[in-house]
Amino acid sequence: MPLIKIENLTKDYESGGIVTSVLRGVDFSMEQGEFVAIMGPSGSGKSTLMHILSFLDKSTSGLYEFEGQDTKDFDKDYLAKLRNERIGFVFQSFNLLARTTVLDNVKLPLLYSKKKDHDNLSKKALADVGLSHRLDYFTNQISGGEKQRVAIARALVCDPAVIFADEPTGNLDSKSGNAVLEILQKLNDRGHTIILVTHEMDTANHAKRIIYIKDGMIVGDEKVLKRTIAKGDGELKK
């Protein structure tokens, strides 16, 4: 059973009576444990695809099966539950809560879950990204690279089926970006499924498989032959 299976997925936006097709029939499937990069220029529809896959948005038509279930009839609350339990998000602009500590930021998804022992789960996730020494720092007191690692810890904390990373290195210098990619690779080595959305070839090459998307359609889907293995200061304890 594939983790994600989509068939002929479309997405139209309507504004002022003009319908714009952003996705025009997309098919692919992926298994548990994959590390897929969705690559394409801006406006190609890759972000929209990611939003649909991560239950932030709904498709106009087509099939989307997640863990073998058709997602068509899921209601809002169930989608929220899926986002909470099965999906982890890493955004380009970090999206951390201001005036809040690193630890509390990581705890955020736990507030909406039934999981207990929030402190330990959050500390463990922060240890995984090498930020155990920053627990009580406020988010405005740490560097951009550290912010993104906090975001990864937050994505990890509920032990999701898949982590979506939307241009995670877009706002970082290459060294910090490398560290983030290294963490993502190591998480994948541990069995986490990762979907990385990017428009940079260098970044996409860190994945194991690249899906090329252009003008709302898949124009290529191939294994990465010369995979880049990131070597930075991204810690990940085994």
């Binding site: 939003h51 991560s54 932030l56 948005d57 809002k76 609350d77 929220a80 539950k81 986002r83 909470n84 339990e85 998000f89 955004f91 999206n95 809560l97 005036r99 809040t100 955020l108 998804p109 507030l111 909406y112 879950s113 937050r154 509920c158």
Partner: protein
């Protein structure tokens, strides 16, 4: 979490609260002052005694001012009217009756003098009105009938003349003259009693008065033969209406009045006065309470405003929370809780401020010699808190709803 969110925006939260604080404090202060004023007013009215009727000359609406207020001198009420009202056959429920006239006068003793008001009345006064003598006796029946040259002093008048002299006022002779008799030497009167301090009633200082026999006041101070009022004490509140009817029919007969249009006197009921005053103070309280309620609503609109701004400012945060699994209900609850907490805390501060200010006002009123009670009713506190939380919820509802309905992607992309 709610509290932490509020604390992270201390300045703004406080300013938002301020509207509620003012509204709640306003409600409490106004209700407390209203209750205090009511107790003061009713205390003033009831101080002289209860179940009192007052008959005044001239026809007037018993609920409006007496005829004399308009400068009319009505001479139709006379002492023999009072005498007939004393008859237990004619007016069975009258416990005591006194006739009275009053005027402004000056009291002289040795080289001291004090301006005061004099009341000419008879022995019935002591039975109609509540007071106690600090020394001596009040004007008795024989003194009254014989037109004895005696006087009873209110405590303030006695103090003004005799304090510090070591002289016992009883037995001393003072001269009393009407304020308008500038050249007269005054009527020499022997002091037979001093009344104990009794404060004010009907907003008139009861201690700054002297009492002389009716005939002395009429004949030698005022030069009149009529009465300005007859007071009647009724045995029980239940018999007041009966007594009003009795008095009216007796006086109609005596004054040869055939139709109600010709009635030349007015019977005033103290209970009516109490009712009128209560109505007035109630209306005032209601008016002021509604002003305070408007303040609360304004405070609520402040909350609405701030919450809308907060929702806009925190759009990305809402998007993020939804992305990591918050349902619409959870988001809605979060914002409602914040609005509720702001108003609840504001309400609490408002209660404290309101109670403190009400207390200080009561202290000030007492300092100014008013018989003021410090009254804080539980109902006013519950009302204020209830209204403030309700305000928070009502005015927080729309922004919360707005926040909960945000589309997560739009919210995340919001700049």
């Amino acid at each position: 979490m709610t509290i932490r969110n509020l604390l992270s925006r201390k300045g703004r939260s406080f300013l938002t609260m301020l509207g509620i604080v003012i509204g709640v404090a306003g409600v409490i202060i106004i209700i407390s002052l209203g209750a205090g004023a009511q107790s003061l007013v009713l205390g003033q009215v009831n101080k002289l005694g209860s179940n009192l009727l007052s008959i005044q000359p001239g026809k007037s609406d018993p609920k409006g001012p007496p005829a004399q207020v308009f400068g009319v001198v009505v001479t139709t009420l006379v002492e023999s009217d009072a005498e007939i009202l004393r008859s237990s056959v004619q007016v069975p429920h009258a416990v005591a009756v006194n006739a009275m006239v009053r005027g402004a006068g000056t009291v002289l003793w040795q080289n001291k003098s004090t301006d005061t008001s004099f009341i000419g009345t008879d022995y019935g006064y002591a039975s109609v009105v509540n007071f106690t003598m600090s020394s001596g006796t009040f004007i008795d029946e024989t003194a009254n009938r014989g037109g004895a040259k005696v006087v009873v002093l209110g405590s303030k008048v006695a103090d003004a003349l005799f304090a510090g002299t070591g002289v016992d006022p009883i037995g001393q002779v003072v001269k009393v003259k009407n304020s308008s008799q500038t050249n007269a030497g005054g009527v020499p009167l022997r002091i037979v009693g001093v009344i104990e301090k009794r404060g004010s009633a009907f907003f008139q200082d009861q201690d700054d008065q002297i009492f002389v026999p009716l005939s002395v006041a009429q004949g030698q101070l005022l030069g009149i033969h009529y009465l300005q009022a007859i007071n009647i004490k009724v045995d029980s509140a239940l018999n007041i209406d009966q007594t009003i009817n009795d008095v009216t029919s007796v006086l109609k007969q005596r004054h040869h009045i055939l139709t109600d249009d010709d009635i030349d006197f007015t019977v005033r009921n103290q209970a009516t006065a109490v009712d009128i005053l209560k109505t007035i103070t109630d209306a005032l309280s209601l008016f002021l309470t509604s002003m305070a309620a408007i303040a609360l609503v304004v405070g609520g609109i402040g909350i609405l405003n701030i919450m809308l701004a907060t929702v806009a400012e925190r759009t990305r945060e809402i998007g993020l929370r939804k992305a990591v699994g918050a349902t619409n209900t959870v988001i809605m609850k979060q914002f409602l809780l914040e609005a509720g907490a702001v108003t609840l805390i504001g309400g609490m501060i408002g209660i404290i401020v309101g109670v403190i200010i009400s207390y200080l006002m009561a202290v000030l009123m007492k300092y100014l010699n008013f018989d003021w009670d410090f009254v804080i009713s539980i109902s006013s506190i519950l009302l204020a808190v209830g209204v403030s939380v309700l305000t928070g919820v009502i005015f927080g509802l729309y922004p919360s709803l707005k926040a909960s309905r945000l589309n997560p992607i739009d919210a995340l992309r919001y700049e």
